[in-house]
């Protein structure tokens, strides 16, 4: 297991480095420069470029960037004067993370449950109902679901607050809107996986042992069926955490989304670079955790490498 974890860790670190490098150069490829729209004289502009180190050759900038990054320093925002990127992240990320993680948890639990229900009632009403929800969930994007929910539950029924992020009742609709797609994906995956596992020989062995249907389902079928679902947990986490931007806009949640959009519009190199790097590293870490969970559940993986 230690070997497996070290191996995963090494892979994660290399991925992180590749990611950081690509992002660094991609941002520099954007046309224009950060001070283009400012009504400033060329002298002041040159001054600012020098101040931020943007006049140096790109490889020097790259090295400086990496050095700062290792210290955990994402640099200054070029536009929000006197604010470090770290401060922006610290202020806004907790909201995004809160929403994202709620969505991951909800999508996983509800998706897996729905998949199990569908598989156990194969080709019966519950199955059709669950798969109908799954199809709707996959095909309707969050910017449609969001306003729809607001209209029904806030405007019409007056059950939930329309927007903002001030308590549990505020989290319900955004979490649901954000997670629906992933929930549907996981439900379908879990259903397919359950139906695959039920035909395997070890289920026959479990039956021949005289176990009750309940024991067979929980101890043998679900436990094996959930493995493919766990493998998509990494990508799903990524989708949901980055997907928060849209939902944040709809529900006026003070997360990172707003800063991201502004950062790109303003060519705020260090803000965009900092936030992207931060997100990337966060997702790599999340994937690393998923890998370890997978190793814990599937003993074959743990030993293999």
């Amino acid at each position: 297991m230690v070997k497996y974890i070290l191996n995963r860790l090494l892979v994660s670190l290399i991925t992180a480095w590749v990611l950081v490098t690509i992002v660094f150069f991609l941002v520099r490829l954007l046309p224009g420069d950060p001070f283009l729209s400012e009504k400033v004289t060329p002298e002041i502009k040159a001054n600012m470029m020098r101040y931020y180190g943007l006049d140096k050759p790109i490889h020097i900038q790259y090295v400086t960037f990496l050095q700062n990054l290792l210290k955990g320093d994402f640099g200054y925002s070029l536009r929000y004067k006197n604010r470090t990127v770290n401060e922006v992240i610290k202020q806004a990320f907790p909201y995004s993370a809160d929403l994202g993680i709620r969505a991951v948890i909800f999508a996983t639990i509800a998706g897996v449950t729905l998949g199990i229900i569908a598989a156990l009632n194969r080709n019966r009403t519950w199955d059709y109902l669950a798969m109908f929800i799954a199809i709707v969930g996959v095909s309707v994007p969050s910017f449609v679901i969001g306003p729809l929910l607001q209209y029904v539950f806030a405007t019409k029924l007056n059950l939930l607050p329309v927007s903002q992020w001030k308590g549990f009742s505020y989290t319900i609709m955004p979490t649901f809107a954000l997670s629906l797609g992933s929930l549907a994906l996981m439900a379908r995956l879990m259903r397919a996986s359950m139906l695959d596992v039920v035909n395997q020989d070890f289920i026959k062995t479990a039956k021949a042992k005289g176990l009750s249907p309940f024991q067979i389902i929980w101890k043998h079928q679900v436990r094996n069926a959930i493995l493919p679902v766990i493998t998509v947990l990494g990508p799903v986490t990524a989708t949901l955490l980055t997907g928060t931007f849209v939902v944040e806009q709809i529900f006026a949640i003070p997360g990172l989304g707003k800063f991201y959009v502004l950062g790109i519009q303003n060519l705020d190199y260090s803000l965009v670079l900092g936030m992207t790097t931060f997100y990337g590293l966060f997702l790599i870490a999340a994937n690393f955790v998923v890998d370890i969970i997978y190793g814990l559940i599937d003993p074959r993986i743990r030993i293999a490498k």
Binding site: D201, F202, K204, K209, G210, L211, H220, D298
Partner: protein, 338 residues
């Protein structure tokens, strides 16, 4: 000897889109306590389905048990509720399957898989069941059982997995063990070890065994009696010696002739039975083997041959045994060595 299992006129069908597959068409046989019965016959003749019916493991739908009684230890299994059946499976009748690579749960420790049945049937405390699991692993000849008990199936070799399967099957000391081609998936040396193990354990535990196999060597090694199945029916039955040295059904002759022997002439081809088994959607009215039988007579196509007794416990369903049938000299019998 005392009867343990008595199957009478068992008929099992599968309802498919293409029609009804009559997989088992009236099978009757018995097993006594502590004896070993081998079931042979070519692929698709209904061996597994018959055994699954005894365990009530036939998927329904599409399967239906159309007729028959299965008396096990005095109870008619076909009349038990699903709950009552759970107490018989794994406790009184156990099963070992063909492929040990896929028959164990990959995400569960081997020991836990053995313990499961004990906890369920004997209400054993988990720690006690674990000890018993170690004991069972030792019994089936797995070295280092204390360590192996906490390992996962993928850490076991194929032969060891089949030993573990046998340990699972025998943990609750069942009266009947059904082994459905337990050695087919293993290589030859391991096959021999598993057979030795089964024979030893049977002596120790006095478990009756039904063994399904394609391998007549296995039959000769293990069984006291043999049932030969063809197209959903038992066409010949008898003691091991009767079947090997005095076979009466042309299909059994064919089976025996298709066994390679050390003395086989290098220039001669191994005999095979030409043709294919009949369509089980619409089995013939007469003898199901008629289309492939070189001795077939007119009556063979028109009327199903009843079981003609040959000697005590030996009978065959073939018109050649009718007193009025022409005398045919069997191409095999005395000469078969395995």
């Amino acid at each position: 000897m005392e009867r343990l299992l008595e199957v009478k006129d068992l008929q099992v069908s599968f309802k498919t889109y293409a029609g009804e597959v009559k997989a088992v068409r009236g099978v009757s046989f018995h097993v006594d306590r502590g004896e070993t019965v081998a079931v042979v016959g070519e692929s698709g003749c209904g061996k597994s389905v018959t055994m699954q019916a005894i365990m009530r493991l036939i998927p329904m739908p599409p399967g239906v048990i159309k007729n028959g009684t299965i008396i096990f230890d005095g109870k008619d299994i076909t009349k038990l509720s699903e709950k009552e059946m759970e107490h018989i499976r794994g406790s009184e009748i156990s099963m070992v399957f063909q492929d040990p690579m896929t028959s164990l749960n990959p995400t569960m420790k081997v020991g836990a898989q053995i313990a499961e049945g004990l906890i369920k049937h004997q209400k054993m405390h988990p720690s006690k069941a674990r000890e018993k699991a170690i004991e069972m692993l030792k019994l089936v000849g797995i070295p280092n059982a204390e360590k192996r008990v906490d390992q996962y199936p993928h850490e076991f070799s194929g032969g060891m997995r089949q030993r573990a399967m046998i340990a699972i099957a025998l943990a609750c000391n069942p009266k009947l063990l059904i082994a459905d081609e337990p050695t087919t998936a293993l290589d030859v040396t391991i096959q021999a070890q598993i057979l030795d193990l089964m024979r030893d354990l049977q002596k120790k535990l006095n478990t009756a065994i039904i063994i399904i196999t394609h391998n007549l060597g296995v039959v000769a090694n293990l069984a006291q009696r043999v049932l030969v199945m063809y197209a959903g029916k038992i066409i010949e039955r008898g003691s091991l010696d009767e079947i090997f040295y005095n076979p009466r059904h042309p299909y059994t002759w064919g089976l025996l002739m298709s066994v390679p022997t050390p003395e086989l002439d290098k220039n001669k081809r191994l005999a095979s039975i030409d043709g294919t088994p009949p369509d089980l959607f619409a089995p013939p009215v007469g003898c199901a083997f008629a289309a492939r039988c070189e001795y077939a007579m007119r009556i063979c196509y028109e009327k199903y041959p009843e079981d003609f007794p040959v000697s005590d416990g030996h009978s065959a369903a073939c018109w050649l045994l009718h007193p009025m049938a022409p005398k045919v000299k069997p191409p095999v019998g005395k000469g078969v060595t395995l």
